[in-house]
Amino acid sequence: MSQFELNTTIANLRDLRASDLSDYDGVYLGDIYCRIYEANFLEQLDDLKEGIRILRDQGKRAYVTTYAGPRNDFLPKVRKMLEASAAAGAQAVEVHNLGILKIAHDEFPQLPVHIGGFANVYTAPGVEVLREFGAVRFTPNYELSLDEINEITTACGAPMELLVHGKMPLGISDYCFLLDYEEKWGVKCPDLCQKELFLKQGDWAMKSVGKGILSGKDVCMLEHLPRLLAEGHRYFRIETVSETPGYRSEVAAVYRAALDRVAAGDGEVNEGWWETVRRHARIGLCNGFYFGRSGMDYAGVRPDAIGSLLTISRAES
């Protein structure tokens, strides 16, 4: 095993097959926001089994994620999905909802559980409670700073999985406002949320995937990877569930190369890497909450690097 794990999220079999995963170590299968997301792995269980097989054949870790806002009527399907995941050899299930954690613990104890970013891990005692229910890896709530995350790991030694690049989840709803515009736009569900949609007002921007609201800017921790590795973090997520296969593979190549270089003792960021991440960031780059500031802020030695090449090229033309 390499010194770190780089993973991502893919919602359906089409995207999995279209993606070059060579720079990833693992993939979470499924869309956590919506049951009728196009061909969602969490609803298409034959696709899910096939997805797990594809990943395992490629030597990747096959993880399955679960819904972040499951109501009672989701639960029968969740149970079937967990059963199918365990049977197909999934190596872990990610849970964002503590009811699903209880189901996984009580009914599928052989499935290791990763705690997702919507499960609200804020404290070390909270981690200890979740461990009693079988959790082995934790994505801290996105609102936590690196100092606060380290406070947890120091207190209880829990392995943390950090979002290092991509759109940060900001919220989840039970209602898709895009459906209000189906007729007007002439675009129907499930194609609606496949469009690249941004809510903007002044310099504010958020990405909409219907029931999910994501950061407009891409979280980018490229120049902070030395700190993350030095602080003992080993599990890194590039969030690409709403991105193209090109984004998925090119950004992963940057982070794989950067992490390899940092692990070898060289933390310098290649100019070509900046060009790649800026080219894929429509709105720009940010650090999320890792430095205790507003989530859309960027703290780093390269503030000039955080703009979007898309925006800059439009302005120049």
Binding site: N97, G99, G126, V129, W185, E196, L197, G292, R293, M296
Partner: protein, 325 residues
């Protein structure tokens, strides 16, 4: 008997809520609850609130429902010990680690899982029951059918918000506000404050209520998109909730004026009492109640829209530059 639970953001509001007929009041210690600090109380004020509530025959619950930091658990427990010694009747909490530790130290204290715990399904309820929670606040998006399932299947007290906001997102699973503006400060007692993050005890800038333009790529598709975040009063559902056996009907609103909160509480006290005194099986006429509620709602709407305008303006200020009047 269903309990009417009322908010109090200051001591006169405790008195007003008791006078209005609340069975229970909840207050938030400064820096530790899901409201900005001006609607929270010092520990001495919490002590006084307990005495006022008990003197009026009401229970007093303490909302310590921020998602706190790891190192804040120990001071939280010391704070809780004081509140319990003063006679607090329950704690409203969110963080599962904090809940488990409070339950371990104070096994007889009633712990309510806060709205911020975002309890959505029956298995969620079972999880929280297993760590010491005895009452849960139902998410505002749940239907009567989902509540009925909970009541039938699980031995747990259900609290339903009858005056509150229904956000676009699930409450407790949204950080849109601090994404746009987060201001961290430390108060005189060393408590970290997170202005902009409701989950962490600061105010919510209500950025969802901004008039958003919607773009697909470079093309504007809509000039103004609203992510619905409506304040509501329940009325027609109240008889059904009482019949369902809901334990607690909760009014939110620590940020409103004392007279408005007292009117809300008095309205629901009268409605509940009238319904309970009404012969079972007879049609209960809601028309007069609708008229009375409309006047309260108009006053609430004015106050809320003023508040939203100020919050959105504050959210645009550079961090550190804003000074509240």
């Amino acid at each position: 008997m269903v309990e009417l639970l009322a908010p109090a953001g200051n001591l006169p509001m405790v008195e007003g809520a008791v006078a209005g007929g609340a069975n229970a009041i909840y207050v938030g210690p400064r820096g530790w609850s899901r409201r900005r600090d001006q609607y929270e109380m010092s520990d001495d004020e919490v002590h006084a609130a307990i005495e006022i509530a008990h003197g009026g025959g009401a229970r007093l619950r303490v909302a310590i429902n921020t998602n706190m930091q790891s190192h804040e658990i120990a001071p939280m427990l010391r704070k809780m010990e004081r509140f319990v010694s003063w006679g607090a009747d329950g704690a409203i909490m969110t963080d599962v680690g904090a809940i488990a530790q409070v339950h371990r130290l104070f096994p007889h204290l009633t712990i309510h899982a806060s709205i911020g715990a975002n309890i959505l399904n029956d298995e969620d309820v079972r999880f929280y029951r297993s760590i010491g929670v005895s009452q849960v606040v139902a998410d505002t998006k749940l239907t009567l059918k989902e509540l009925a399932s909970r009541r039938e299947q699980i031995d747990v007290g259900i609290e339903v918000l009858i005056h509150a906001n229904k956000c676009y997102t699930y409450l407790g699973k949204c950080w849109m506000s601090p994404y746009h503006r987060l201001e961290r400060t430390t108060d005189a007692f060393g408590k970290d404050l997170f202005k902009g993050s409701p989950n962490r005890g600061g105010l919510d800038y209500r950025v969802c209520l901004e008039s958003w333009e919607l773009y697909s790529g470079d093309e504007m598709w809509e000039k103004s998109v609203a992510l619905k975040n409506d304040a509501f009063f329940l009325l027609a559902d109240i008889p059904h909730l009482i019949d369902l056996g809901v334990q607690c009907l909760k009014v939110q609103g620590r940020e409103y004026s004392v007279p408005l909160v007292e009117r809300m509480v008095r309205f629901y006290r009268d409605l509940i009492d009238s319904y309970l005194a009404f012969p079972k099986g007879e049609p209960f006429n809601l028309s007069p109640w609708q008229l009375r509620l409309a006047a309260i709602q108009a006053e609430r709407d004015t106050s809320r829209s003023d508040g939203t305008r100020l919050l959105l303006a504050e959210a645009r200020q550079p961090v550190g530059a804003f000074r509240a009047d």
